[in-house]
Amino acid sequence: MSIDADLIVVQARELHQLDVGKARAAELAHEVQALIDNALKAAQSAHFDDEPDRFLYLLSALRDPPLL
C-alpha cells in the first residue's frame, strides 16, 4: 500500500477545505504512510480493548502503593 500525494491534495481540499501544494502533499503522504504503517505494526502485537474508560480505570487500579 502506498498513499499517493494526489490523494492528500484531494482529501485536504474536499474533506478539510485546506489547500496543499503538490510538493508538501508528497511529504505528507510519506509522513502519514509511516504513521499508519507503524500503527498497523503495533496493532499486530497487542489485543484491543473495547471497554469504555478502561484506561482511566486502570490508571487508578494500578496505582503505586502508599509510601511509608
Binding site: L18, I36, A42, H47, D49, L59, S60
Partner: protein, 478 residues
C-alpha cells in the same frame, strides 16, 4: 541582598516568608530586577506584570503581618507557561493567532496558585501551541538556554525551564504532551514533573492533545517541585479525567528512605543510542543512587518504539482536530514549524486513531505488569545527546521535522501514551557546561515515590545547586 534572595530555593524562601525574615515585596522586586537584567538574553518572559506582581506581593505581606498564612506558596513569585488561562487576560499560547484573544475562564491551576497566595510575575515563552520540543518560536523569538544562549532551552515549556534555571522565578508550571516539561527541565538543569494523566486539572488550559496532555511543575529542586505539585494536584469536577482520590502530601513524603527501592535500567536496543558523554553522567547517577541505598537492576521494557508510533498517531489526529477551524481560516498566521507538527493529522483515518486509543489500556496493563512488578522506578535518559544549538535544530525544510522530533523526543514521548508519571532530574554537565539529566518513570500516581528518589539523590549530589553565570547583555542573540 537581591542576589541572595534569588539564590534561595522556593522551599527556603517560603520558610523565610512565613517567619517574616524576608518579605514577598523583597523577593518579587529581586525577580523583577533580574528579569529586566537577564530576560533580553534568555527571552523566557513574553510579558511581565510588574505593577500587578508588586500589588500581589504587598497584599501577601499584609496578610503575613496579621498571621494569615495561606500555605507554602504564600508570597512566592512564580511565572507560568503562557497557556494557563486567566479570565479577562490574554494567553498567547506562543502564537500570533492568540495575541488579542482574551480568556473567558481561569485555569484551575491558576486559581489554586492564586488562592495559595502566589505572586504572578508574568507569562512565559513557549513553542507555538506547545507544538515543538526545542523552544524555537517564530513569533516571540526563540527562548535561549541560560547555560549558553546559543543553545536551545528545550520545549515546549521553554520559558519555564529557562526562567527557573536563570533564577528569574522561584518555580513554574508547564505542560507535557510528549516531553514538554521534562525536556526543558533537563536542558536547563532543573527538576520537571510530568504527572500521571488525571492528577492535575486541565480545566482552562490550552489543549494540545486531550489524551496526552499533563500539567506539572518545573523547579530548582525536587523539594520545590513537591511543593508546587501539592498546590495544584487533586480532583477537579470541571476536568472529568481527574482522579477523585485524596492527593498525597508530597513535601511530607520526601523525607523517607529509598533503601530497599529497586531502580530499573532499560536493556532495550532503543536505549543504546546515547551519546558517550551523556551516558557517563547517567551511569554516575546510577552509582550515586546505589550508594544512597537503591538497588539497581536491568529491566527489559515492552518495546517503546511501538508505543512511540501509537503516541505519534494520537498526537497528530487530536492536534489537527483542535486546530482545524483556524487551519482553514488563518493558516498563514501559523509558523512553518507549528503547521508541520499538526498538518499530517488531517490525513490519519479515524479507524487508525480509534485503534490507537483501544490499545492504550492493554499496553498500560502490560507495561505495568512486566516492569513495575520488578522495579519501583525506571531510570532512563531524557534526551540522548548533549543539548544542541539553536542553529542545528532550526527547521529549514518541512522534510526535517519528523527526524528532528524523533531524535529529541524518543525517550519522552511514549510515556504520555501510557499516562505514567516521570520526573526529570539534573545529573551533571557535559564538557561544554550544558546540563544532563535522567528521568525516573513510575507506576500510575507514583509521584511521591519518584520525588523521594530525586530528593534523596539531591541530598547526596550538588548539581542542582549550580547556577548559570548569566551576564547582563544587550539582546545580541535576537
Amino acid at each position: 541582598m537581591a542576589a541572595d534572595i534569588r539564590a534561595l530555593p522556593l522551599a527556603a524562601l517560603s520558610r523565610a516568608l512565613q517567619r517574616r525574615e524576608l518579605s514577598s515585596m523583597e523577593a518579587t522586586r529581586a525577580c523583577l530586577d533580574a528579569i529586566d537584567e537577564h530576560n533580553p538574553t534568555v527571552n523566557a518572559f513574553v510579558s511581565v506584570e510588574r505593577d500587578a506582581a508588586l500589588a500581589q506581593a504587598a497584599a501577601a505581606d499584609r496578610e503575613l503581618g496579621t498571621q494569615q498564612w495561606r500555605g507554602a506558596l504564600h508570597g512566592v513569585p512564580l511565572a507560568h507557561k503562557d497557556m494557563f488561562y486567566r479570565a479577562g487576560k490574554v494567553s498567547t499560547c506562543g502564537s500570533a493567532l492568540c495575541v488579542d484573544r482574551v480568556a473567558s475562564v481561569t485555569a484551575a491551576v491558576q486559581q489554586r496558585m492564586g488562592d495559595g497566595g502566589a505572586v504572578y510575575l508574568g507569562s512565559l515563552n513557549m513553542s507555538e501551541f506547545a507544538a515543538g520540543p526545542t523552544g524555537h518560536n517564530a513569533h516571540f523569538g526563540h527562548c535561549r538556554n541560560p547555560w549558553n544562549p546559543a543553545h536551545i532551552s528545550g520545549g515546549s515549556s521553554s520559558g519555564s525551564g529557562a526562567a527557573v534555571a536563570a533564577r528569574l522565578a522561584f518555580g513554574s508550571l508547564g505542560s507535557d504532551t510528549g516531553g514538554s516539561i521534562r525536556l526543558p527541565a533537563a536542558m536547563c538543569g532543573v527538576v520537571g514533573v510530568k504527572p500521571t494523566y488525571g492528577l492535575v486539572s486541565r480545566h482552562g488550559v490550552m489543549p494540545r492533545c486531550w489524551s496526552l496532555d499533563a500539567v506539572g511543575p518545573l523547579a530548582r529542586t525536587a523539594e520545590d517541585a513537591a511543593i508546587l505539585l501539592h498546590a495544584v494536584a487533586g480532583h477537579d469536577p470541571r476536568d472529568r479525567t481527574t482522579d477523585p482520590s485524596p492527593r498525597p502530601d508530597y513535601p511530607a513524603l520526601l523525607a523517607g528512605s529509598i533503601g530497599g527501592m529497586t531502580v530499573g535500567v532499560p536493556t532495550n536496543a532503543a536505549f543504546a543510542d546515547v551519546d558517550a558523554e551523556v551516558r557517563a553522567r547517567l551511569d554516575a547517577s546510577l552509582r550515586a543512587l546505589e550508594a544512597l541505598g537503591a538497588r539497581v537492576i536491568p529491566v527489559e521494557l515492552p518495546d517503546p518504539r511501538v508505543i512511540y508510533a501509537l503516541t505519534n498517531l494520537v498526537n497528530k489526529a487530536e492536534a489537527a482536530t483542535i486546530h482545524a477551524k483556524w487551519m482553514r481560516t488563518r493558516y498563514d498566521e501559523y509558523s512553518l514549524s507549528a503547521v508541520n507538527r499538526i498538518e499530517a493529522g488531517f490525513h490519519v483515518p479515524a479507524t487508525h486513531y480509534l485503534d490507537a486509543l483501544r490499545l492504550r489500556a492493554p499496553l498500560l496493563e502490560k507495561f505495568t505488569q512486566e516492569v513495575f512488578a520488578r522495579v519501583d522506578a525506571v531510570h532512563m535518559p531524557v534526551i540522548g545527546m548533549p543539548v544542541p544549538t539553536i542553529e542545528a535544530t532550526e527547521i529549514r525544510s518541512t522534510e526535517d521535522v519528523p527526524a528532528l522530533m524523533e531524535r529529541v523526543t524518543r525517550f519522552t514521548r511514549w510515556v504520555n501514551y501510557l499516562g505514567l508519571p516521570a520526573v526529570s532530574v539534573p545529573c551533571g554537565f557535559t564538557a561544554s557546561e550544558l546540563p544532563v539529566a535522567y528521568q525516573l518513570l513510575g507506576r500510575p500516581f507514583a509521584e511521591a515515590r519518584l520525588l523521594r528518589i530525586a530528593h534523596t539523590y539531591q541530598q547526596g549530589t550538588d548539581w542542582h545547586r549550580r547556577v548559570p553565570a548569566l551576564q547582563a547583555t544587550e539582546r545580541a542573540h535576537a
